[in-house]
């Protein structure tokens, strides 16, 4: 789960990281008020959960409260990558001398947290990593000891931060690690961490991504979820415990198991089609879950066919077939469907579905080919 900039920065502040004075506004009038309170130049920043806000015009400098109101009006009327801007953060503008990148994330191979820093902040770190990898400092942290002061100093030294700023930097780096650890984050990032003209260090932008598996023990953080920022189908899918990712193809997929779901998408592509989604219905496919999955797939107007791919292991194929039949009674389908059932009780499962308006297939390749064909016909 990704947090908004303003939410991330509030968590940073709670962990001793200096952030600009500022507040969030959902109307231009409030934005003007905040600008007046801050009494000077402010930055109006769209709060949307996608990257590239700056390029899209979602981050603007206002020199007066009136200008703040005007720009807030503009930004609050924008859509960025399809997401309407519902809130702006109004922050005191900083006079920037230089920009640093600082983050902590999980290093899978080392199975430890890793601090990542660069004197080249303010840009995409992947770009820096690609162009000038030696400008990136990486330092592994023992998850049982946390980030120690000497390690933070080591980072400061290696990014050649002026020594005057070390003390504050150590505090910021440890605060960031603390935020990461306390919130079960998978990423806590300050980009840029700026040195201002008056020699302060401030976290100008912030990003946190939380571990979905840990949200159950962070009720307060779970409540920060901004449902407005998510595709309604993803919200719906989560409600039913379904794992769903929308894509831009035309063949809806319903599969049991994440790996098999990915493989199903792959074989659709191999047969010249394009998957409309990733969807794992998990083990034990009850009719309500199958029905919810069907509704979600069909809510995408680009879907022209649906491919069911079920491997019956512990869950038997006939059970799944009954789940599908029951679901079909409650959901009106408007596109052709292909079903492929393999594994325990596959014959019985196929027999049950033969009565439904579904094409059946014996192999995954055959199912994929049929789905691609039917989608093309339906679209035409």
């Amino acid at each position: 789960m990704r947090l908004h900039e303003y939410q991330s920065k509030q968590i940073f502040a709670q962990n001793g990281i200096p952030i600009p004075r500022g507040r969030v506004a959902s109307t231009a009038a409030t934005a003007k008020e905040i600008a007046m309170e801050l009494g000077g130049r402010v930055v109006i920043k769209a709060q949307v959960l996608v990257g590239g806000r700056g390029k899209a015009g979602g981050i603007r400098l206002a020199r007066t409260p009136a200008e703040a109101e005007e720009l807030a009006t503009q930004i609050l009327g924008m859509q960025i990558k399809g997401l309407p801007v519902r809130r702006v953060l109004v922050d005191e503008a900083a006079a920037i001398r230089s920009e640093i990148y600082l983050a902590v994330t999980n290093e899978r191979n080392a199975r430890r947290p890793v601090m990542v820093a660069s004197a080249e902040g303010g840009v995409e770190i992947e770009q820096v990593a690609h162009d000038t990898p030696d400008k990136i400092v990486r330092l592994l942290v023992d998850p049982l000891l946390g980030l120690r002061e000497y390690q933070a100093r080591e980072i400061a030294s290696r990014i050649e931060l002026p020594r005057d700023h070390w003390k504050t930097f150590v505090q910021i780096a440890r605060g960031l690690y603390q935020a990461y650890a306390a919130c079960d984050a998978t990423l806590a990032e300050i980009n840029p961490l700026v040195i201002t003209e008056d020699q302060r260090l401030i976290a100008l932008d912030g990003k946190m991504v939380l571990d979905d598996n840990a949200l159950s023990r962070h009720q307060d953080l779970a409540e920060l979820r901004d449902i407005d920022e998510e595709a309604p189908v993803e919200v719906e899918a989560r409600k039913y415990g379904l794992s769903y990712v929308a894509m831009d193809g035309d063949i809806g997929c319903m599969v049991n198991g994440a790996g098999l779901a990915m493989a199903t998408m792959d074989i659709i592509k191999f047969n010249g089609g394009k998957p409309a989604n990733f969807l794992d219905i998990g083990g034990g496919a009850g009719s309500d879950k199958v029905a919810a999955a069907l509704r979600i797939i069909l809510s995408d107007p680009g879907v022209h066919a649906i491919l069911f791919n079920i491997f019956g292991g512990i869950t038997r194929c006939d059970e799944v077939a009954r789940g599908i039949l029951a679901a079909l009674e409650s959901v009106e389908t408007r596109v052709p469907m292909v079903v492929r059932l393999v594994g325990t009780n596959e014959a019985e499962g196929r027999r049950l579905l033969a009565g439904a308006k579904m094409e059946t297939a014996a192999t995954l390749s055959e199912a994929a080919r049929k789905a691609v064909e039917l989608a093309a016909q339906h679209a035409a």
């Binding site: 770190i125 840990a214 990915m262 493989a263 998957p275 292991g313 325990t344 192999t363």
Partner: protein, 289 residues
């Protein structure tokens, strides 16, 4: 022959009284696995599965009484890190954790602790182990496997079942099937498993099923180049997966431009592995070896 588990493995089931734990204990017993004990704090002294399996309060007491040398964990995510540590502290050398949904920072701490111990962890968020004809320690449907000379290692669940099933359908069989799990931080990886298969005299061919996220497959490719003498058929799921999106498994995500299927396929092909373009091709390629 096999790796990791066989018919002499004595298994203790942690979380045996839960819905999943009990169901799969029965399935494992039916398969012939030696389930010698269950653990459920507060229920020590009771029995489950028609009096076949004694329950203990702690793993250490179960080990003491039964000599269990392998543990399988079905406890909920909240308690699973503790369960792994308890098994390790009780001296169990092989721990299989089926549980899904363990926070990744918990697993980093657990792995750090296990690094000091002589213990192998499989999983979490994995289907476990199947040595056809000998033992199943996990949730892989037993009937789809058949004794043979193909070692299977995979990050996935049902996709693995598909592949096992297909291998069996083509008249071949498996030495051991290892589901290493779909979480970003897990125990046994491709490398260690490949090493075990290399050493196992009864494994002649290997199937490796990877997916997007991380670079375990790239490291496996290095190992294949450097050390492996046995032929490998590989498949990487998620060729069409968009970046930045988690594809079901917590570990299946393309981040910062790395962890793509294309990179992994390239690395494995360069290492001489036959890489299937789609899952049905795996058994074909294997038969052609």
């Amino acid at each position: 022959m096999s790796i990791l588990v066989n018919k002499n493995t004595n298994v203790v089931v942690q979380g045996i009284t839960g819905h999943e734990g009990l169901f799969h204990t029965e399935q494992m017993l039916v398969y012939g696995t030696r389930i010698v004990a269950g653990v459920r704090p507060g229920k020590g002294g009771e029995w489950v599965v028609s009096g076949k399996v004694p329950i203990f309060d702690t793993v250490s007491s179960a080990v003491e009484a039964t000599g269990a040398d392998c543990s399988i964990i079905f406890v909920p995510a909240r308690a699973a890190p503790d369960a792994i540590l308890e098994a390790a502290d009780a001296g169990i050398p092989l721990v299989v954790c089926i549980t899904e949904g363990i926070p990744v920072q918990d697993m980093m701490r657990v792995r750090k602790y296990l690094d000091e111990k002589q213990v192998r962890l499989i999983g979490p968020n994995c289907p476990g182990l199947l040595t056809p004809g000998e033992a199943k320690v996990g949730i892989i449907p037993g009937h789809i496997g058949r004794p043979g000379n193909v070692g299977v290692v995979s990050r996935s669940g049902t996709l693995t079942y598909e592949v096992i099933h297909a291998i069996t359908q083509r008249g071949m069989g498996q030495s051991t099937c290892v589901g290493i799990g779909g979480d970003p931080v897990h125990g046994l990886g491709f490398l260690e498993t490949l090493e075990l298969f290399e050493e196992d005299p009864h494994t002649d061919k290997i199937v490796l099923i990877g997916e997007i996220g991380g670079n375990d497959e790239e490291r496996a490719a290095e190992f294949i180049t450097d050390r492996l003498t046995k032929p490998v058929v590989a498949f990487i799921a998620g060729q069409t997966a968009p970046p930045g999106k988690r594809m079901g498994h917590a570990g299946a995500i393309v981040e910062g431009g790395t962890g793509t299927a294309a990179e992994k396929i390239k690395a494995l092909e360069a290492a001489g592995a036959r890489v299937a373009r789609h899952p049905e091709e795996i058994a074909d390629l294997l038969a052609g070896l």
